[in-house]
C-alpha cells in the first residue's frame, strides 16, 4: 500500500465533467468518440501519473475505440476514474479490465440514453418550445435551451459522481429496477405525448367540397337587408356571434375535411404517420420520404385536393 494515496479532488472531477461536454468534438469513423474521451480524461491522468511512460501509456489506453450516447458517457467516465485511481495507487487493474468496463457499459447505456434523451425529452421540450415559438413567443426557445442544459448538466455531473463512488460495482446497480423503471416511464410518457403531437401538429386539410346546401331563409345573414355603415356591421356581428348564430353565407359548404373531423379529428395525420413508420421499417431513407411528401403537397395543391 502506498503511504500517500493519490486522490482525485472534486475539482479534478469537475474538470473531467466539463471536458466531457466536448466528447464528440473529434468524432471519427475509425474509433468514434476516442479523441474526446481521451481529452476528457487528461486532467485525471495528469493528477494520477507523474512519469512520462505512465502518462503515455494512460493516454494510449484511452484513445481506444469508444462510442455511446454522449450524456451517458458520464457514469462510464466516473467508473473509469475510480479504476484509474486504484491503478495509480498500486492496485492490480490491467488495461483489459479498463477497456472491458468501458465497452461493457457503453452499449447498454446507449440503449437507455437514446430513447430517454433523443426520443422523449428532446421531442417533448422541443415541441413545447416550438408550440410557443410558432406564435412568435421568445419564451419558446428560452425555455427549451435553459431547461435542456440544466437537465443535461445535472445528469452528467451526478451520474459521473455516482459512477466514481460506485466504481466497478455500478454495473450491478444498473441492471436493477431503477433504470428499467425510468426507461418504461419515459417511453409511456413519450408515446402519450406523441399521440397528442400528431393530432395537433401534423396538418393535413382536404379541401374538396363534399356538399353545398342552400340554407333556409333566416338561417343566414342577409347582407343586402342590413342597415348601412357601422350599424350594419354591428347587427351582422350580433346575428353571427351572439344571439342567433346565423351563417355568414346563404350556403352551407361541407369540405371533405369537415366530414373527416366529425369522424376522427386528425385521422389523416395518423394514417400518414403510420405510412411513414412502415416506409422507415422498409429502410426507406427519411430524406426520400420528406422529399416525397413535399412533392405530394405541391401536386395535391395543384389538383385542388389539399
Amino acid at each position: 500500500m502506498a503511504e500517500s494515496r493519490v486522490k482525485l479532488s472534486k475539482k479534478d472531477r469537475l474538470a473531467v465533467a466539463w471536458r466531457s461536454t466536448f466528447l464528440q468534438g473529434s468524432w471519427n469513423y475509425e474509433r468514434m468518440q476516442n479523441g474526446g474521451w481521451c481529452f476528457s480524461m487528461i486532467p485525471a491522468i495528469k493528477k494520477l501519473y507523474k512519469t512520462k511512460e505512465d502518462r503515455a501509456a494512460a493516454l494510449k489506453r484511452h484513445l481506444e475505440f469508444f462510442n455511446t450516447h454522449p450524456y451517458v458517457a458520464s457514469p462510464i467516465l466516473g467508473v473509469t476514474l475510480a479504476l484509474e485511481e486504484d491503478r495509480a495507487n498500486g492496485t492490480e487493474v490491467d488495461d483489459a479490465a479498463i477497456q472491458g468496463v468501458k465497452v461493457g457499459m457503453m452499449g447498454p447505456l446507449a440503449g437507455v440514453g437514446d430513447p430517454v434523451f433523443w426520443f422523449t425529452l428532446r421531442p417533448m421540450l422541443g415541441a413545447l418550445g416550438a408550440s410557443l415559438a410558432l406564435g412568435g413567443n421568445i419564451l419558446g426557445p428560452i425555455i427549451f435551451f435553459v431547461a435542456w442544459n440544466l437537465i443535461r448538466w445535472a445528469f452528467m455531473w451526478y451520474t459521473q459522481e455516482f459512477g466514481y463512488k460506485a466504481g466497478s460495482k455500478i454495473t450491478d446497480d444498473m441492471s436493477g429496477g431503477m433504470l428499467q423503471y425510468v426507461t418504461s416511464l419515459a417511453s409511456i410518457m413519450g408515446m402519450f405525448v406523441l399521440g397528442g403531437l400528431i393530432e395537433r401538429w401534423v396538418n393535413i386539410t382536404f379541401t374538396p367540397k363534399v356538399s353545398t346546401v342552400k340554407l333556409q331563409q333566416g338561417a343566414y345573414i342577409e347582407w343586402d337587408k342590413l342597415p348601412k355603415g357601422a350599424e350594419g356591421i354591428k347587427q351582422a356581428l350580433i346575428e353571427y356571434k351572439n344571439g342567433k348564430g346565423l351563417s355568414l353565407t346563404p350556403e352551407k359548404v361541407t369540405t371533405l375535411q369537415d366530414n373527416l373531423n366529425s369522424l376522427i379529428p386528425g385521422l389523416a395525420a395518423l394514417l400518414l404517420t403510420f405510412l411513414c413508420m412502415w416506409l422507415l421499417k422498409k429502410k426507406v431513407s427519411p430524406i426520400i420520404i420528406i422529399i416525397a411528401i413535399f412533392i405530394v403537397g405541391i401536386l395535391g395543391h395543384v389538383v385542388g385536393l389539399l
Binding site: 461536454t21 468534438g25 473529434s26 468524432w27 471519427n28 469513423y29 475509425e30 479523441g35 474526446g36 481521451c38 481529452f39 487528461i42 491522468i45 511512460e53 493516454l59 484513445l63 437514446d114 433523443w118 426520443f119 421531442p123 422541443g126 413545447l128 416550438a130 408550440s131 415559438a133 410558432l134 412568435g136 413567443n137 426557445p141 427549451f144 435551451f145 442544459n149 429496477g177 426507461t183 418504461s184 416511464l185 409511456i188 402519450f192 405525448v193 406523441l194 399521440g195 397528442g196 393530432e199 396538418n203 393535413i204 386539410t205 395518423l270 404517420t273 403510420f274 411513414c276 413508420m277 421499417k281 427519411p286 411528401i293 413535399f294 405530394v296 403537397g297 405541391i298 395535391g300 395543391h301
Partner: protein, 269 residues
C-alpha cells in the same frame, strides 16, 4: 445587413456547427439557431417562428450510433439567413422551410466529410500520446471541434455574400402554387419525425398510451404542459399498478414485448 450582424451570424453558425456534432448545448436545434440569427439581424419574430416550425419537423432527428441524421444545423442556419435576406419577414417562413429540407440533406454530406477528416486528427493524437504530450492532444481536439464549427460557418458566410436582392428575386419568382404547395408539404412532413421516434419506442405495452394521447389532444383547451402532466401521471399510475400486480416483479418491465403494429406493418407487403 450591417458588418456586425454578419459577423454575429457567422458566429451563430459556428456555434451551430459545433452543436451539431457535440449535441450538448443544442445550439444546432432550429429553435435556438433560427432565433439567434433572427435576434442578431433584427428579425427576431420571424426567426422564432421559423425556428418553431423547423423544430417541429426536426423533432425526431438524432444521431444514433454511427448513423447520421439530417443536418438540423445547416438547415436551420441557412434557411434563417435566406429568410432574413428575402426580407419578407414572417410571410417568408413557408418557403424558407421548404428550402431547409434539401439543405438538411446537403448537410449530411458535409457531416460525413467532417467525420472522415477527423480520422487523421485522431492519428495525430496517437502520435502525441506516444510522447505523453497533453498539450498536443488538447490542441487536436480543439481543432476537431473548430472544424465542425466551420462546417456550418463557411456555408453561412457564403450565403451572406450573395446579395439579398438576388435571394429576394429568386423567392419572388417562385409561383404561388409552388409556395403554397410547399407550405402544405411542410405541414405534413412533421409526421416523418414522429414516425422515427415511434419506431424507436413502440412496444405492445405502450401503444394504448399513444391512443389515449391522440384522442385527448383533440380537446383543444389542453396545453402541451397539461398533456405532459397527464402523460407522467398515466405512466406513474400504470407502473405502480404493474408493480402491485404481483408476479414477484420477476418478469416485469418492457423487455422486448414486441411491437404488434410494427409487426403488422412489417408483414404488410
Amino acid at each position: 445587413m450591417s458588418a456586425i450582424s454578419m459577423i454575429l451570424v457567422v458566429l451563430v453558425a459556428f456555434l451551430a456547427g459545433m452543436g451539431g456534432i457535440l449535441d450538448e448545448f443544442q445550439f444546432h436545434q432550429p429553435l435556438v439557431a433560427c432565433t439567434l440569427i433572427g435576434l442578431v439581424t433584427g428579425n427576431l419574430e420571424a426567426g422564432i417562428i421559423l425556428g418553431g416550425s423547423l423544430q417541429m419537423i426536426a423533432l425526431g432527428w438524432a444521431n444514433i450510433g454511427a448513423a447520421v441524421a439530417p443536418d438540423a444545423a445547416l438547415a436551420a442556419v441557412a434557411s434563417a439567413i435566406i429568410l432574413v435576406q428575402g426580407g419578407q419577414g414572417v410571410k417568408g417562413v413557408g418557403p424558407a422551410i421548404a428550402i431547409a429540407i434539401p439543405l438538411a440533406v446537403a448537410g449530411l454530406f458535409l457531416t460525413m466529410l467532417a467525420r472522415t477528416i477527423a480520422v487523421p486528427i485522431v492519428h495525430f493524437m496517437d502520435a502525441a500520446a506516444e510522447e505523453g504530450n497533453f498539450r498536443k492532444i488538447e490542441m487536436w481536439q480543439i481543432v476537431g471541434i473548430a472544424m465542425q464549427g466551420l462546417r456550418i460557418a463557411i456555408p453561412a458566410a457564403a450565403l451572406l455574400v450573395i446579395p439579398s436582392s438576388a435571394v429576394r428575386g429568386f423567392l419572388e419568382s417562385m409561383p404561388a402554387w409552388l409556395n403554397e404547395g410547399m407550405t402544405i408539404g411542410g405541414g405534413m412532413v412533421v409526421a416523418v419525425g414522429y414516425a422515427m421516434v415511434i419506431n424507436m419506442m413502440a412496444t405492445r405495452e405502450v401503444w394504448p398510451f399513444f391512443a389515449i394521447g391522440f384522442v385527448i389532444a383533440a380537446v383543444s383547451d389542453l396545453t402541451l404542459i397539461a398533456l405532459g402532466a397527464l402523460g407522467v401521471s398515466f405512466g406513474l399510475i400504470y407502473l405502480e399498478l404493474k408493480k402491485n400486480a404481483g408476479n414477484g416483479g420477476n418478469n416485469g418491465g418492457s423487455s422486448n414485448t414486441g411491437d404488434p403494429l410494427g409487426d403488422i406493418l412489417n408483414d404488410y407487403e
